[in-house]
């Protein structure tokens, strides 16, 4: 075709060409490295931004304002039946007793001022007194100083979110209330301290007394059920598929399906749960047992896949050695393969569970995206989970819930970090090298 003879390069020319290409290649390497650094830098800066915004909003949410009042705990009014039972205390007049001791400090005049003054103290004051009396009935008949959470609007005012110079009609609290609050702070009755409610309270529509305990326990119960169901099932499936299953069409189909299941949107599992567990088996809605079962379906593929990988990573020589000295298949699996694969399986399981911890979509269908006040005592009591609590708080109109939302996110993050740390520690502890 062409009569150009291949040109023979001299050593000098060749080294020049090589040199220039080396420079090019080095430049490419350097560029790749920079791209990588930029990517990491971006990811880290997003993370920092996220953390700073959540923590700067959330940390104040762990604290709140309180007012201290000297309350005379009148036995007859607090405990009308006189048997110190919760029912009797509920029927008592705790709320008025608290309001009256507030009136003593601020001296409101007329009906309007009295009505305004009532707004200062959280609606939960009566519950607090009942609880104190139940804990220690000896305080009845005495006058003792008790601290009560202030109403969320007052809290926002004291934090400076509601400004004094906004016209009174545009504020959530009017000038009379501000006058009373000023009076209380002048008497050193207002204090700012770590919230009694955020960690130990349950869901509430009054943001000043709302807490995450109910949702936290709900999350623990749900995850426990999820683990109890998903882990044994997942491991058993993985062992069967790796050690016993013949390699044929059917196992191949099963395998492909398991991998596909791992990518199914989680809300689908909720619909499945609704149709099967509630529809066919008639399980009650909103309970952690049901939530755990649905999340177990969701985490199963993750557990199976990681368990299979862990089993495959056990060196065949160990199995061969076991078979060689006459161990049965069961002995080989239970004495050698499983203990060696356990760290990998557990890591996969914990990561799967951490994923389940953050889910709300599948729970929507089965009634766990709900406002639930009572703290669940077991897996069959209605309960909700942390992400749902965050979701609900984010949607309420009261402004104090914005901080509470960030605080709950912090708790969820800490929970997640603990789970991931557990995965790392377990792996380090149980891992064997050869």
């Amino acid at each position: 075709m062409n009569n150009n003879k291949p040109k023979i390069l001299t050593a000098n020319e060749a080294s020049k060409i090589v040199e220039s290409s080396v420079i090019k290649r080095r430049k490419k390497d350097a560029r790749l490295k920079t791209y990588g650094r930029i990517a990491i830098g971006l990811a880290v800066s997003f993370l920092i931004f996220l953390f700073v915004s959540i923590f700067s909003k959330g940390i104040p949410g762990f604290f709140q304002y309180y007012v201290t009042l000297d309350v005379y705990l009148d036995r007859d009014r607090l405990d009308p039946k006189g048997d110190l039972s919760p029912v009797s205390l509920y029927n008592g007049d705790a709320r008025s007793i608290v309001i009256e001791s507030l009136y003593k400090v601020i001296n409101p005049k007329g009906r309007k001022e009295k009505k305004a003054a009532k707004k200062i103290i959280s609606t939960n004051a009566d519950v607090r007194i009942s609880k104190m009396v139940l804990d220690d009935p000896n305080i009845l008949g005495k006058t003792i100083p008790i601290t009560f959470a202030v109403d969320d609007d007052i809290d926002s005012f004291l934090r400076g979110y509601i400004k004094r110079d906004t016209p009174s009609s545009e504020r959530r609290i009017n000038d009379t209330v501000i006058k009373f609050v000023d009076k209380l702070s002048a008497e050193n009755r207002i204090s700012y301290k770590f919230s009694d409610y955020i960690l130990t309270g349950s869901a509430s529509r009054s943001p000043e007394i709302a807490g995450i305990k109910g949702a936290f326990i709900g999350s623990m119960l749900t995850l426990a059920v999820c683990f109890i169901i998903a882990f044994p099932l997942g491991v058993a499936t993985a062992v069967y598929l790796e050690e016993f299953a013949p390699k044929n069409r059917i196992t191949e189909i099963i395998e492909v399906n398991i991998n596909n299941l791992a990518a199914v949107p989680s809300v689908v599992f909720g619909i499945l749960g609704l149709a099967i567990f509630i529809g066919i088996f008639g399980m009650p809605r909103s309970i952690p047992l049901l939530g755990g079962m649905v999340l177990a379906l969701m985490t199963l593929p993750t557990i199976i896949i990681s368990s299979r990988a862990a089993i495959r990573a056990v060196p065949p020589s160990i199995k061969d050695a076991a078979y060689g000295i006459g161990a049965s298949k069961l002995q080989t699996i239970f004495h050698h393969v499983l203990p060696l694969a356990m760290p990998g399986m557990l890591t996969g399981t914990i990561i799967g569970m951490a994923q389940a911890l953050g889910e709300t979509a599948p729970l929507l269908m089965i009634g766990m995206v709900a406002f639930i006040v009572d703290i669940p005592g077991g897996v069959t009591d209605p309960g909700t989970v942390l992400p749902v609590q965050i979701f609900m708080w984010a949607d309420f109109a009261e402004r104090m819930f914005i901080q509470k939302t960030s605080s709950a996110i912090i708790v969820l993050l800490v929970f997640l970090i603990f789970m991931n740390a557990a995965a790392v520690i377990l792996r380090k502890k149980l891992e064997r090298r050869w």
Partner: protein, 342 residues
């Protein structure tokens, strides 16, 4: 270890099927009613003899459909809704032999608001409909909404781009807004629109569609998100429930619609026209089976007044006569029939 776990799992599963009875009231539905229903549920649950009702979110359709789904403890007892039940929805109830009583609990105003840094929108309902409906009448024809700025609609309106954040199609707030403003405020009132619709053979219902060219922005079900957006962008407006305006009255201002400002008094006095009623539907067959449904309803009566907790949270109370009517309905439990919905 493994064996123990598996047996524990089975025991757990068995124990629930055995104890199927539900002790607490189960409620689901509208996210607009939820903040108020939860207040009632929480106050109700303070009674140590009672378990606090569970209030699920999900939207009005979930409430209405859920309560009609069947009889038995696995179904909810009360469905909340921010739009009235339709005959079609009631037919689903009849099919499942569910009998209901309708209780109206109060009103909720829908406001169009913006940041205090921006201009107050003083607009007629018809112009407001023109701003956001997908098709408007121009020269006797229904065409895609051409208005870019508020002042294009009416020179008296601010010379800023139309940018309104609002809820998505799944929301009851959106449905009510589209019906009250787009359909009833504009297409059924405006002469040009009526003529153009007739010429095109379209029904006024078609006007409920919101424009999709970017002037109306769906901001998700989270009303707080819209509030945040408005605080950042003084030229943007948002559509949401009155309680969010009430909570943020120091940074947001409500648009004056047809010469009426969205204040508590105006909505309660029925002067402000963009408001809708809030309902719950209680299932007869569960009364007495689930303990405390009657007492739960009593709590509504105790708190839905002008000075009650619900008004403080932003719900607009009904007039006294209407309150008396529905308090009576709670006692007598008239069965909801298709005729009553007409």
């Amino acid at each position: 270890m493994l064996k123990k776990l598996i047996t524990a799992g089975f025991v757990l599963a068995l124990s629930t099927t055995a104890s199927n009875a539900r002790e607490q009231i189960s409620i689901a539905g509208s996210s607009t009613v939820l903040p108020f229903a939860t207040i009632i549920a929480e106050t109700f649950g303070k009674d140590p003899t009672i378990k606090t009702p569970v209030v699920e979110s999900g939207g009005s359709s979930v409430g209405k459909k859920g309560v009609c789904e069947g009889i038995g403890t696995k179904f909810i007892d009360i469905g909340n809704a921010s739009s009235r039940m339709k005959t079609k929805e009631l037919a689903f109830c009849d099919k499942n032999k569910v009998k209901l009583t309708e209780i109206k609990v109060g009103y909720d105003g829908i406001v169009v608001a913006n940041s205090k840094k921006g201009k107050v929108l003083n607009i007629s309902k018809s112009d407001l409909g023109k701003a956001l409906t997908a098709k408007v009448a121009i020269n006797g024809k229904m065409v895609d909404n051409p208005y870019k700025k508020w002042s294009d609609i009416n020179p008296a309106l601010p010379n800023v781009e139309i940018r309104v954040y609002g809820p998505p199609t799944t929301s009851g707030t959106r449905a009510s807004y589209a019906e009250m403003v787009n359909e009833k405020g504009y297409c059924k009132k405006d002469k040009d629109a009526k003529a153009a619709l007739k010429a095109a053979g379209m029904k006024a219902k078609k006007c409920r569609a919101m424009r999709t060219d970017g002037a109306f922005i769906e901001a998700g079900e989270q009303d707080n998100l819209i509030v945040q957006k408005l605080q950042e962008d003084p030229n943007a407006y948002g559509i949401f429930g009155f309680s969010y305006l009430d909570q943020n009255s120091d940074t947001l201002q409500g648009a004056i619609i047809s010469k009426t400002a969205p204040t508590f008094e105006n909505i309660a006095g029925n002067n402000y026209s963009v408001s809708r009623a809030l309902y719950f539907y209680v299932k007869h067959q569960h009364m007495g089976v689930i303990k405390g449904i009657d007492k739960y309803m009593d709590k509504w009566v105790a708190n839905w007044g002008d000075d009650g907790m619900l008004a403080d949270a932003g719900m607009i109370p009904m007039p006294a006569a209407e309150r008396a009517k529905y308090a009576k309905a709670m006692k007598e439990l008239p069965v909801l029939t298709a005729d009553m919905l007409k």
